[in-house]
Amino acid sequence: MIRKLLKNLKLTSAFFGVFLTLALSVQATEVDTLMHRDSATSAEKVDSAASAQEFNAGEMIIEHIIDSHEWHICNWHGEPVSIPLPVILLDEGKLVVFSSGHFKHGEEAYQGYKLEEDGPNKGKIVKVKEDGTINEEAKVPLDFSITKAVLSLFIGVALILIIFLSAAKRYTANPNRAPKGIQSVVEPLILFVRDDIAIPAIGKAKYMKYMPYLLTIFFFIFINNLLGLIPFFPGGVNLTGNLAITMVMAIFTFLITTFSGNRSYWVHIVNTPGVPWWLKIPIPLMPIVEIIGLITKPFVLMVRLFANITAGHIILLGFMSLIFIFGGMAAWIGFAVSPVSILFGVFMSLLELLVAFIQAYVFALLSAIYFGMAVEEHHNEHAEGHEIQH
C-alpha cells in the first residue's frame, strides 16, 4: 500500500517538479519586488537610510507566513498588486463590513479603523481617533474578516468538495466497476486511510463510525498542504501552518475522542489499572497524569502540524531570501548564488511534498489511535496495558 502511494507521490512530485521550477522563478521576482517596496516604504519613515536599504529576510518570511487582510500577489513598478479582501468587524455589537482595499495596503485609515503597523497588535485592525492617531483606550474590535487564510480555506474546501463529490458520483453511477478517472486517484488514498489507519488503530468492529472524520481530516490536511506548496495565487498560503486551523482540527479530534470514550476508557483515566495503589491514594497522581494526557494529545497534534508546515515554508523562503541577501552585497553574487538557492528550493519542495503527505497521515493516524483507545474493550487490563505513547 505504501509502495503504491509512493508511486503515486512520485508521479505527483514529477508534476510538481516542473511546476515548482516555474513557480520558484515567479517567487524570486516577487521577493525582488518586495525588497524594493520594503526599502521604498521604510526609507520614507526611517532616518537611517543605510539600514533601510538592507533586505530584511525575516520580515519578508513572516509576512508571507502569517495571515493578512489582503492577498498580495506581486509588486508592479513598485506598487503592490494584491486582491483586497472583505473586512468584517464586530465592534461593540455593531457589524462593520468594507473592503480592505480602503486601507491602501495599510497606509490609510478608513471609517475610523486602521491596520496597526507595530506593537503587540501589528497587522490587526484597530480604531483610530479623529485626528488619525491610534485610539489606545478603545477595545480592539472582533475581527471576522475574510482574510487570506480564510479565502485559502474556502478555496481548499471547494477543491475538496469538487474532487470528492464528483468521485462519489462516479461511484454511485458505476457500481462494482473498476475505478476510473478521479476515482483511481482518490481510491488508493481512501483505501489507505481505511486499511492502514482506521482498521489497525480502531479495529474492524467500530472503525466505520470514524471513517468520515478520518477521511475528512486526512484529505483536508493533505490537499491544503499541497495548495500551500504552490507559490502563487490560489495556493501559497500557509494555511495548515496556522495555529487556528490546526487547533480546530485538534479540538474536533479531542471532542470525538471524549464523547466516544466508553466505560473502560474513563476507568482507565480515573483508576488506572496495573499501577500501585499508592500512586492513586492519597494523592491522585496517576489520574492527574492521565487527565494531563487527555489535553496534551490534541495539543501535540495541533503543534506538530503547525510546526512542520510552517518550518517548511520558512526554509523554502529562506533559500529564496539568500539570493537577495547576497544580491544586496553585489548583483553578481546574487546571480551566482541563485542556482544553488533554486536547487535547494526544489529539493525542499520535493521534501515538503513528502511532508505534506506524512503530516496528513500522522494527524489521521494519531486521531484514529485516540479513537481506538476510547472505544477499546479492555478484557485483559494487564496484558493490553497502555497503548503506544506518542
Partner: protein, 164 residues
C-alpha cells in the same frame, strides 16, 4: 510572536467551514464511497468464489466424464468378449452338428454298402449255383453213366459248393 497567535476570526471561519465540510463530505461523499467500495469488494469476493466453485464443479464433471468413459470402455470390452464367446459357441455347435451329420451319413453309407455287399454276395452265390448246376449238368451228362462215379462226384461237389 504573531506566528503563534490564534485569531478569533480564523478560528470561527475554520470551525464553521470544517464543520460544514465534515457534514457534506460525510453525507454525500464518504457514505456512498465507503458503501460502494464495500459492495465492490463483496462482489469481487463473490465472483472469485463463484469462479472457484465453477472450477471445482468442472473438475468434478471431468472426473465424472472420465469415469463414464472408463465404464463405457469396460462395457464395450465385455460386449466384445461376449460376442466372441457367442461366435465361438456357434461355430463349435455348427462343427458338432456337421460332425454328427457326417457321421450319420457315413454310417448310412456303411450300412447301405453292407447291404449292397450282402446283396451282391447273394447274387454271386445264386450265379455260382446256377453256373455250378450247369457245370454239374454237363459233368453229370458225362459221369452219370457210372453209378459209382456218380455218387463220388456228388459228394465231392457238395463239399466244394460249401463256400461260405
Amino acid at each position: 510572536m504573531e506566528l503563534v497567535k490564534v485569531d478569533i476570526g480564523l478560528l470561527f471561519w475554520m470551525t464553521l467551514t470544517f464543520g460544514i465540510l465534515l457534514f457534506i463530505l460525510g453525507k454525500y461523499a464518504w457514505k456512498p464511497i465507503m458503501k460502494m467500495l464495500h459492495e465492490r469488494e463483496e462482489s469481487i469476493d463473490k465472483a472469485l468464489n463463484a469462479a472457484e466453485d465453477a472450477k471445482k464443479e468442472m473438475l468434478k464433471l471431468k472426473a465424472g466424464n472420465e469415469q463414464l468413459l472408463l465404464e463405457a470402455k469396460e462395457e464395450r470390452d465385455a460386449l466384445l468378449r461376449d460376442a466372441r464367446k457367442v461366435k465361438e459357441s456357434i461355430i463349435e455347435e455348427a462343427r458338432a452338428k456337421a460332425n454328427e451329420e457326417a457321421n450319420r451319413i457315413i454310417e448310412n453309407a456303411r450300412e447301405s454298402i453292407q447291404y449292397e455287399k450282402l446283396a451282391a454276395i447273394n447274387d454271386l452265390k445264386n450265379q455260382i449255383a446256377s453256373i455250378s448246376i450247369e457245370i454239374a449238368e454237363k459233368l453229370l451228362g458225362q459221369e452219370l453213366s457210372n453209378k459209382e462215379k456218380q455218387k463220388e462226384l456228388t459228394e465231392k461237389l457238395l463239399k466244394e459248393v460249401k463256400i461260405n
